[in-house]
Subunit: 295 residues, 2 copies
């Protein structure tokens, strides 16, 4: 027998990349989706793209939903509109898709008894109501960070949602999630942005010739290493803000590692440097699935 | 009238990715190619792959060549075999493909009167006698770093070679080349390797749970940012060794930029952080052609 949440409309709050993709996937599986958006123009595009069965800027659209997915940017998730809070049905299971979990948990566990903090880890370079895609979550991690206070049936509903959409379900403590994403997602943004800054500023300090030359010679390696640093600045800032403590800790660990490599170069310890680079080469396949390992 | 070098066999010393690709491209254009390799097994594979017209481990194979391309690893290029030196015809134009230019220039300008330092900037993740590809250099920069002492006719021959193979020809001082590649090629290797180390060590310091979690959650952004850091350790070490001064300078500039971003996070200056990330986003297209900009 299907779980109870599947028999009622699903409310999706925010129809950007994540919310829009969840809505599309659910509709393709025969579920009814009600979308709540901020602006009428977004509602209009959501109708044109046929993302949802109903869409409105009025939180009343969530009435009757058995599951509500909060697919909002972190700042709006952490400071929710009172009208949204008032409109979420008390009996609905509520989950979010925020990429930092401890502050979301701290805020929402007090706001709704059936809240389940979760983070579907999928993305593309695009955002907004045009960005939603079918099958975005297939094979991707969907992490929940329940506590002892999280309702078991609510957690099971969100797990059912994740699996229905083809994701790989994981549970861990919110603090561990936030440390992990600091290391593998938020730290890389700063590391990568600093590389763009360094190439620009160091070359500029040496004169126009070098500024032109670095831009002419940069190739696929530089493109790869700077991709996330050249990404959405609002998103990068929201992540840093919401995950500040874990990010600062990750930055310290990173700077220590880089200083170690610098010292080997400084002291001309070439066999030591080669050993560290060999170790890095061996580490990478543990983090990166084979289909992402090539250039 | 074709330039004189085209009317004689071309000697290619080393038939790895770069040497093998040059050989294949030249033969497809009707030129005669003589390959010199280190090991008999490599000579055998070069024959089987039909990379060259003649191949030998005996430097005598270079006899009669009008152009000799030194496609050797940097260490062997900087410390050349006396038998190779003795076998290069005195009238031949000689060029190299080394990725650091000042030390190669310092060494080879004294060794051969018709030497032209050059660096075709193309690559794949592969190396060795199986790696050579046709059209590897099409649309890629081929940088020469001549001095006032470089023979004009020899420089014109190497330019003719680069253009024949479809590359984009550039000339700049060796020191500028080495500063530029430090920033856009050698620095990214260390920046990227340190990220793998930090993710591994910081997670390990927090216990097994986090070590598993970072590996489960790492996604395409982490894969991109760590690609060059997980590359060939021998190559990374050779680059750092040959370009030590410029790399250390690039590292200092980089650490300064990263510390600036850290300070913004530390002090909670979110509008300042967003401004820096916006600047990084604006900078990137200047370095990365549109076809490499997406994820």
């Amino acid at each position: 027998m299907p779980m109870p949440w599947r028999q009622l409309p699903v409310g999706v709050v925010g129809l950007g990349l994540i919310g829009g993709s969840i809505a599309l996937d659910l509709r393709r599986r025969g579920l009814i989706v009600h979308g709540l958006v901020h602006r009428e123009t977004t509602a209009q595009r959501a109708r044109e793209r046929d993302l949802v069965d109903q869409v409105s800027t009025d939180p009343g659209v969530l009435q009757g939903c058995g599951l509500v997915v909060l697919a909002l940017p972190l700042d709006r998730l952490l400071d929710p509109d009172p009208a949204l809070l008032a409109a979420i049905p008390p009996q609905a299971v509520v989950t979010d898709v925020g990429s930092v979990k401890q502050p979301v948990l701290d805020r929402w566990q007090a706001l709704h008894p059936r809240f389940v903090p979760s983070h579907p880890m999928a993305g593309t370079a695009h955002a907004g109501v045009e960005a939603g895609l079918v099958d975005l979550f297939v094979g991707r991690p969907w992490v929940a960070t329940p506590t002892a206070d999280t309702e078991t049936a609510a957690l099971a509903s969100v797990q059912d949602l994740a699996i229905l959409l083809g994701a790989h379900w994981l549970c861990c403590p919110a603090a561990a999630h936030d440390q992990a994403v600091a290391l593998i997602s938020h730290l890389p943004v700063l590391v990568s942005a600093a590389l763009l800054q360094a190439a620009d500023r160091s070359a500029a300090a040496s004169g126009d010739g070098l500024s032109v030359l670095v831009r002419s010679l940069a190739s696929s390696g530089f493109a790869d290493t700077t991709r996330v640093g050249g990404g959405n600045p609002e998103l990068g800032t929201l992540m840093a803000r919401a995950n500040r403590t874990a990010l600062l800790q990750a930055l310290q660990g990173y700077q220590h590692c880089l200083a170690g490599l610098e010292q080997l170069v400084q002291q001309g310890e070439w066999s030591g440097l080669q050993a560290e680079l060999s170790r890095a080469q061996q580490l990478r396949p543990g983090f990166v699935s084979p289909d992402r390992s090539a250039g």
